[in-house]
Every structure is written in C-alpha cells, then in structure tokens.
C-alpha cells in the first residue's frame, strides 16, 4: 500500500512540474544527471530547489563539515549535525523532500584526482555553489575539458550573481582575469603600520612565525633594509638578526632565507615561549630597533615602546561588563593591560598546544614537525591575534579594535545571508532548465543588486559574453606571457606561486623543448626546485610548455626576464596586473571583475555588482589557515600546496 501511494504521488508531482515546464522539459529534468559542487549556503538552497523541481539524479561534492555559524542560513543542517560532513547531511535532508530522488554525496575535495575528466563527463550539467576562486577555476577547467555546461554562482552579503559557461559559446570563468587582492607593502607591515589592518596582518604573521608555517613571506621583524630608511646609521638595526631585507632574502639562497625566518621561532624555542620575554622583545626591543631608523619617523609619529605606554597608562582596563544590551561581549575594546594579559596567556596556551601536538607527532613516528594552523574560529588563536594586533596598534598610536571587528578583518569575513543565497539558488535552476532545453541563446548572467537601477531593475539579466580569444584557459592554444626575475626565482617558486598559485594548476609538468624541467611525479625533478630559472636555461624570451594532465590543460608560457617589480611583486602575468608575493595581502571585498565589455553592459543597465562569491568570503593572507582544518596540522610546504582549495586560495568560505 505504501508503494502504491508513493508511486501515485510521484506521478502527481510529475504532473505538477510538467504543467509548468512542459512534458519534454520535465522528461529532460528527470533524465538529467547533475553535479552540484558545494553544499554550503547556496548549495543547501540549490539542492532543495533541484529536488522540488523534479531533478532525481544529483551528485553532491563538498569537503566541509558543519559549524554553528552555518545554521543561520544553511537550513538543511541543524544543531545536532554540527561536525558532520555537509555533503552527507545535505543529501540526507533533501532526500526527505522526495524519497525517490537519487542523491549521491562525496565528502571530498572536488580537486581530487578521483574526480577526473571522465568522471565530469558523465554529467549533463555542473552547478557550482562554491566559495573560493581556486576551486571555481578548477571546475571551470574540468567542465571545459569534458565539455559539460556549467552554471557558476556567488553571493556576498546582499549581492549575488549567476552565470552560464559553455565551452566555445560563452566566456569561461577565467576569460577575465581576477584582480589580485589588495596588498600591503612588506615594509609597512614590518616597520611603519598606519592602519588597523597592518597590525592585524602583522598579528597573523606573528602567529605563523611562532606556531605555524614560518617562512619569509610572513616575517614580522623590523626590516632595516627598508629603502626609506636608507642612509640611516648603519648600526641601527643590523645588530638585529631578524632585520634583513625581504627582497634580498628572496633573492638569496634558500638556506639564508630559512635561517633568517627561523630566527624568531628559534628565539622563542630558546626562550621557551616565555611570555614576559616575548612581550619585551616584540613590543619593546623591536620597537626600539625601529626607533633607531630615524629617517622613518621624520614625517611619521614615532612608535612608543609598550613599557613606556604601560607606565603612562591609567586605563588598566576599560572593562564595563562582558556584554550589554547594546553590544556583544566581543564588541568591547580591551584596555592596554588587558591586551597584554590576553597576549601573555594566549601565547602560553598556544605554546602548550604546540608542544602537545609535537609530542603526538613524535609518538606517531611522524617525520614532519607539528605546527598550528591559524583559524579565525579558533578562539585561542583569535585571542592571540586580537591582543597582538592591538598592542601593536597602541605602540603605533593607531586606535584599537574590538575582537569582533578584528575577527572580521583577520578572517576577512564577507557575511552571507539566507535570502541572497535563496535568490541565487533559484536563478541557478532557471538557467539549468534553459540549458537542458539547449536554449543557450537565452541563458543570462544575472546580477542581484541592493537597489533598483534607473530602469527599476534589482535583478539584472545580461547577455553572456563570447569567449575571450586570448584567454589563458579556453583559447584554442592557450598562451601567456610571464615576467619574472629569472636569476632569482627558483623553479620551486615558479611552480608554487606562478603555475599553481596564479595559473591555477594542480600538478603541472613543464618542458622546455624536449627537456622535462618539472614533473608532477613526486621526486622526479625535486633536484631542480632550488635552482634559479636561468640556471635551468629559462632566460629572457624562453618559451616553456606546461601541461596539467588532470585538468587536461596545456599552456605555453613565454618567460620574459625582468629585474625588478613594483610593490613587492615577484612576477607579472601579462594582462593580469602585478602579483605580489602571498605575504601581506589585505582583506578586500569580493573583487568585482567583469570583463570590460560585460562591465559596460552592466553599467549601462545599472551599478550592478560584478563578480561576487558564495557565502562568507575569506581572503586568506598566507594560505596557511583554513576554516575547517583542525587547529593543528602536520604539513610541510609541499603538502600545503596540494591540500584543499580552501587552503591555498585567497578566498575561503567561512
């Protein structure tokens, strides 16, 4: 009897959907095999819409687990699901809307090798509900390779966007280069902070120097080679072992670089992470080093060492209760003494945690050193960064900031809300239905704006752009020109920051003529990694051929030698702006990056938002911390590059 009623209702459901979309379209919906990448804010809404619209073959891939702060919008999840995989719970919840739906889930990274071109090829349609550019780039390439239509989407606060990507017919996701995130010069971070963000970035770097993946990209010590300070008393800071020029370090051999970088960690280990001594070093002695570089302070207000501040300070604490009706507990700004106390206690507890992780790693026979990963949702790590940043703000006479705001800034949170996600997920399904009808000509890119434009529109459909013939991804023979200093950039750096970091490859092989310079097979070409490009024969105007087998992506790169770059950049990809090293990236709102002609269209029609991203958007400043990674992780640099999308990219979902 249950079977009878169930099948009857299946028929009833069919009748209702058919009546709106037509029998033929409904037949295609039922037959369609759909991949949904991401089961977060947009994904929960999208899966619901798909099932209710009659889709019955859906595969869901997501690598995240559920957190409390997801529950205000990811409605397929409830409190009892916190900690469980999103893909699994989303599939289980949505199945209840239609028990006949065949929803398969993978709790995995979409970049994994198991999700090959052939695997993508089984789908009629791929729907992205992603939260980071890196994974979007990857799915874009896989869909181009497998020639599967892709619906791309994103939200940021009240703004949203949906578009359709079809090989050969429309722009691909990478036809328009994304502008690199806003940067803060290394010297500003290390020597002359003037904004809260400079101190927040410094605080996160400090965390990595002390507990995390310490490298020269996040050096926080005074930089005595600051060009601005040139001509200062040569003795000024040279006594300080940490005070070397970042660029000089990059150009020197690895050993020297590491030597320098490890010095703060080495110093901390030597001093057993002693809280008072660390405060003294960072906020008194290092400040005095900076003060000796007196050219820096001719036009600037000089910093004041913390001991002096504490003597002058009468505030002690401005504590007036933990929370009140007018603000959250975290919205209270700590006093100077309170910051010092929180810094000391969080430092000690993090040091304790680090040693526990190291003991665990040693016990398990791991050869890799245990480190801590910064995570904005790790209260202790967030306490540490808030306190460290505020102490530095005090030293540099920058107004202090509460923990709530520090978290927005440090975690680069662009909040996501249920309503925007719901609207965007609805638009995705409408585009999906057009694709299933083979009506690409009426597919649209749609923007959700906050306010109506002069033509009264708040949802603005615009025609899809044609592919960019010079796209470094979807062109017939993709080519790109990269400017680097071939004498200083090593092959390993080229692999990491250019091929993987900038050009979005996962496992590139690189050839010059018949010579294999870089192999994706582990170990095969490791010997080349520390060598400068020029010593491997890559000099001015050398063309190299790069292939990512997994992405079925081939790219010819013309390398041009350039001695120097602006603003701490290590290289420039032509047509893509300058790209500073991953250090010192500033938080930024989701980058509006419409192609020139799309931008014109959008502006004709409105001041619509351009590209926005799903869910809370987090611009990572160093790629070492992911939201959903355990606070402690055993990683080395190579692993880091292969770990999840969230890990290495600038944009991460909260």
């Amino acid at each position: 009897m249950a079977t009878t009623s169930s099948s009857n209702h299946g028929a009833d459901r069919s009748a209702a959907v058919s009546r709106i979309v037509g029998d033929d379209v409904y037949a295609r919906i039922k037959a369609a095999k759909v991949l949904m990448v991401g089961a977060g804010g947009i994904g929960c809404e999208l899966l619901k819409n798909l099932v209710l619209s009659g889709f019955v073959n859906v595969v869901v891939v997501d690598l995240d687990t559920i957190e409390v702060s997801n529950l205000n919008r990811q409605f397929l999840f409830q409190r009892q699901h916190v900690g469980l995989p999103k893909a699994q719970v989303a599939a289980d919840s949505a199945r209840r809307f239609n028990p006949q739906a065949n929803i398969v889930f993978h709790h995995a990274n979409i970049k994994n090798k198991e999700f090959s071109q052939e695997w993508f090829g089984q789908f009629d349609l791929v729907l992205n509900a992603l939260d980071n550019v890196s994974a979007r780039n990857h799915v874009n390439r896989m869909c181009l390779a497998a020639d599967v239509p892709l619906v791309e989407s994103g939200t940021a606060g009240y703004l949203g966007q949906v578009t359709v990507i079809k090989k050969g017919a429309t722009e691909c996701f990478e036809c328009t280069p994304k502008p690199p995130p806003k940067q803060h010069p290394v010297c500003t971070i290390r020597n002359t902070p003037s904004l809260p963000i400079h101190c927040i970035v410094w605080g996160k770097f400090l965390f990595n120097q002390l507990f995390g993946l310490a490298d020269d990209e996040n050096n926080i010590s005074p930089n005595t080679a600051d060009p601005e300070a040139a001509g200062d008393n040569a003795d000024a800071g040279r006594q300080d072992v940490d005070g070397r020029d970042a660029n000089a370090e990059l150009s020197s051999a690895d050993s020297a670089t590491n030597n320098n970088v490890q010095s703060l960690r080495a110093w901390a280990i030597e001093h057993q992470y002693h809280a008072d001594e660390t405060v003294q070093k960072l906020f008194v002695n290092d400040v005095k080093t900076l003060l000796r570089m007196d050219k820096l302070w001719r036009e600037r207000r000089p910093p004041v060492p913390l001991d002096t501040l504490l003597e002058q300070s009468t505030d002690g604490t401005n504590d007036d209760g933990p929370a009140s009706s007018t603000r959250l507990k975290d919205q209270r700004v700590w006093g100077l003494k309170e910051c010092t106390d929180v810094f000391r206690s969080s430092l000690s507890r993090l040091a304790q945690r680090l040693s526990e992780e190291q003991a665990k790693a040693a016990a398990s026979g791991s050869s890799e050193a245990a480190i801590l990963s910064w995570d904005k949702d790790d209260d202790l790590a967030m306490d540490f960064v808030t306190a460290a940043a505020n102490l530095r703000m005090s030293v540099f006479s920058i107004p202090n900031m509460c923990r709530f705001d520090a978290k927005s800034m440090a975690g680069n949170i662009i909040p996501a809300i249920a309503t925007t996600n719901a609207i965007v997920a609805g638009l995705i399904v409408l585009e999906a239905m057009k694709i299933l009808r083979d009506q690409f000509s009426i597919c649209r890119m749609t923007f959700l704006a906050r306010k109506p434009n002069s033509r009264m529109k708040v949802l603005l459909p615009t025609e899809l752009s044609k592919p960019n013939p010079n796209c470094h991804v979807c062109a017939a023979k993709p080519r790109v020109t990269v400017h680097v200093n071939t004498n200083t950039m090593t092959l390993g750096q080229f692999d990491e920051v250019v091929l993987k970091g900038r050009l979005g490859m996962i496992a590139p092989d690189m050839m010059e003529g018949n010579r294999i310079l870089l192999s994706s097979e582990p170990g095969e070409t490791d010997i080349n990694n520390p060598k400068a490009l020029s010593s491997l024969g890559i000099v001015h105007d050398t063309s190299v051929f790069v292939e990512d087998f997994h992405q079925s992506y081939e790219l010819t790169i013309r390398v041009l030698h350039r001695e120097a770059f602006e603003a701490d950049a290590q290289f420039v990809v032509e047509g893509q702006g300058s790209v500073p090293p991953p250090a010192a990236q500033a938080p930024a709102a989701p980058a509006p990056t419409p192609s020139a002609d799309r931008k014109r269209k959008a502006e004709d029609d409105s001041d619509a938002p351009a590209v926005v991203d799903d869910d809370d958007i987090v611009l990572m400043d160093d790629g070492s911390a992911s939201d959903h990674q355990p606070a402690a992780a055993h990683v080395n640099k190579k692993h880091r590059l292969e770990t999840p999308a969230d890990d290495e990219d600038d944009i991460v979902f909260e």
């Binding site: 009623s5 209710l52 927005s408 997920a425 638009l427 949802l459």
Partner: protein
C-alpha cells in the same frame, strides 16, 4: 526589554550581525510576524525569516496539503499525502513546518482561514505577511493593518513570475552611508563588517524615512491619464498583467487576454501586449520551486528590513518576470 545576547546567539547569528549590525538583529528578535498562506512561496518566506531569528511567527493556513504543494514545499514529504490516502486526519500544511524550527523562534499554528479573522486579530503583530491571497483579501487585510498601525506585505507566485506589494506605513530606517571626507571615524564603533573592513571608506549609520500607500491607493492610479500627462513612469508589464488578473477576480470572469479586459481594468494597451498577458494567464498554475525561492528571498529580506528598521525598503512593489528573468522594484502610487 533589552536583554543581552547570549554567547550562543552571538555565535549562531554571527555572520548576519556582521552584515546588518547588532541593533538590527535585536529589533528582529523582538518582531512578531503573521504569515498567512503556506504555499511554496509562503514556506520559503517562513524559512528565511525564521532563520534570521525573529521573536515569533504565526502560521495561518486552513488549507489541506495538495499534490501541487509537493512541487514547491520542501517541508512536505510524500508521507504527508500518504496520511490522506490511508484515511488519517488530513494534514494541515503548517504542521510540517514545525519540524524544522531549530531556533528560538516561537511558532504558533493557526488553522483558521484568513477571511474569518476580525480586524483586531492583526493588531498583535508587527507585520502581517500574506501569500497567495486574492485581491479583496489583500485589500481588506491591508486596511485592517492600517487601522492598527501594523506593517503589511503581500505576494504571490504565478508560474514563472511573482510579485510582492508592501505598505510599511510611515517607515523609519537606518542605512549605512559612506562617511563624508573629513568626518572623524567612529573608532571601535564598527557596527557591521563592511564598516570595520574598510577603514579608508568608513560608513556611518544615517536615519531615513519612507512613506508608503495602501494597496487600495496603489490600485487607484489612473494609468491612462497619468502616463499621458507624464505624471508617472509606466510600471513593468508584469504589474499590468497583475492588474488584469485582479480585474478577472473582481468580475469573476475567466482568464482571457482581451482588449475588453484591459479597457475594463483601465490598462492602456501600450503598456501591456495581449500576447504577453495571454502567456501570463497560461502560466498561472502550480508554483515553481526556483521562482518561489527567488521571490521568497526578496520577500523575506523586505520583511527583515521592515522589522529591523535597517536598510532602504523597496517602496512599494517588487516584480519577478520569468519571461525575461528580470526583477523590478518600482513605486506604484501617485
């Protein structure tokens, strides 16, 4: 009563507090909402505003679940219809909603029909939300709400299209505007993430006011004269299609796109092609889930703006036109 946020609430609502600020969240937390009409659109609206953390929601719907509900209502499993088949008591739509209330929102279920309610019933709410109501019900409830100074919003989905109308009376709201150069920054007073994130482009909260009109007034616009006299910009086609639909409800006639219908509804033929109206009439039927999601998202965001007094409301009509995929916000009033 001002009650401090618990750590739990702060954590749960963390992201949206960063978007619209704590003050807005607190006002939402004291909002009492009536939602009448648990269609696919109604369920979308209920989901979105319950997620945002209001004080209470009263779900009013006397209807029994139907097959069509299955295509647009995610809280209704097949088993709810199975109960009917096995002669169990008929399942009321709102029963299924209770399951998903994981929040501290009070949910009240009312199985009476909207039409049976006295005017004074609406006075207990801060905002009354109608979904799928016929024209005369929308007008009378709007008028009742006016009597008790209760904000009003109504909407429906028709096939691939949908609309909402709102009457927020005399509405005061706060909006973050970019701080004028030279104005001192509000140190440590960042209410939202946007404010905190961009120190160079800091915003300040400013007070605004918006005056609304009741639906009856919006419907009394004499379009032919007004357009001819250039006193009003023509609304999008869909608004006129709705006027034609409501005219058929008034006259209790069949849905037929004729020039007589336009004439009787006072719609200039220049603003509503008959083939467009004909297609609109044909599409009226079961709700499409994605359309409910789109209109329900806008609808719920308007409810949240109304009860939080944060951000400019769409005064007073939103239209989603499924034929071109555009969403319009316009003011229908003289």
């Amino acid at each position: 009563m001002a009650v401090a946020f618990t750590d739990d609430e702060a954590q749960l609502y963390d992201r949206q507090i960063r978007l619209w600020g704590l003050d807005a969240q607190k006002r939402m937390r004291s909002a009492r909402v009536l939602l009448a009409g648990l269609t696919g659109l109604g369920v979308e609206v209920a989901k979105n505003i319950v997620l945002a953390g209001i004080k209470s929601i009263t779900l009013l719907d006397g209807a029994v679940t139907t097959d069509a509900d299955l295509t647009a209502q995610f809280y209704l499993g097949v088993e709810s219809l199975g109960l009917n088949v096995s002669h169990s008591p008929k399942t009321r739509r709102q029963k299924r909603l209770l399951v998903h209330n994981a929040f501290m929102v009070a949910v009240v279920v009312d199985e009476e029909n909207l039409e049976s309610k006295q005017d004074s019933f609406f006075s207990q709410f801060d905002i009354v939300c109608l979904v799928g109501a016929p024209l005369n019900t929308m007008i009378s409830v709007n008028d009742a709400c006016r009597k008790y100074c209760v904000k009003f919003i109504a909407g429906s989905v028709y096939g691939l299209s949908g609309f909402l109308f709102q009457d927020l009376l005399e509405h005061d709201y706060v909006e973050d505007v970019v701080r004028a150069p030279g104005e001192p920054p509000q140190v440590g007073k960042h209410e939202t993430a946007q404010q905190a994130l961009d120190a160079a482009n800091e915003t300040t909260a400013s007070q605004f006011h918006s005056s609304f009109t009741p639906l009856s007034a919006a419907l009394s616009v004499a379009w032919s004269d007004a357009i001819a006299a250039k006193r009003i910009k023509p609304a999008p086609k869909l608004w006129f299609a709705l006027l034609a639909l409501w005219q058929t409800q008034r006259q209790n006639i069949e849905l037929q796109a004729t020039s007589d219908l336009l004439a009787s509804a006072g719609i200039p033929s220049s603003v509503l092609p008959l083939d467009y109206l004909s297609a609109f009439f044909q599409s009226i039927g079961p709700e499409m889930s994605p359309v409910s999601a789109i209109v329900g998202g806008v609808y719920a965001q308007e409810v949240l703006k109304a009860v939080s007094g944060k951000d400019a409301p769409l005064n007073n009509v939103f239209l989603f036109d499924g034929t071109d995929g555009a969403g319009y916000a316009t003011r229908v009033s003289l």
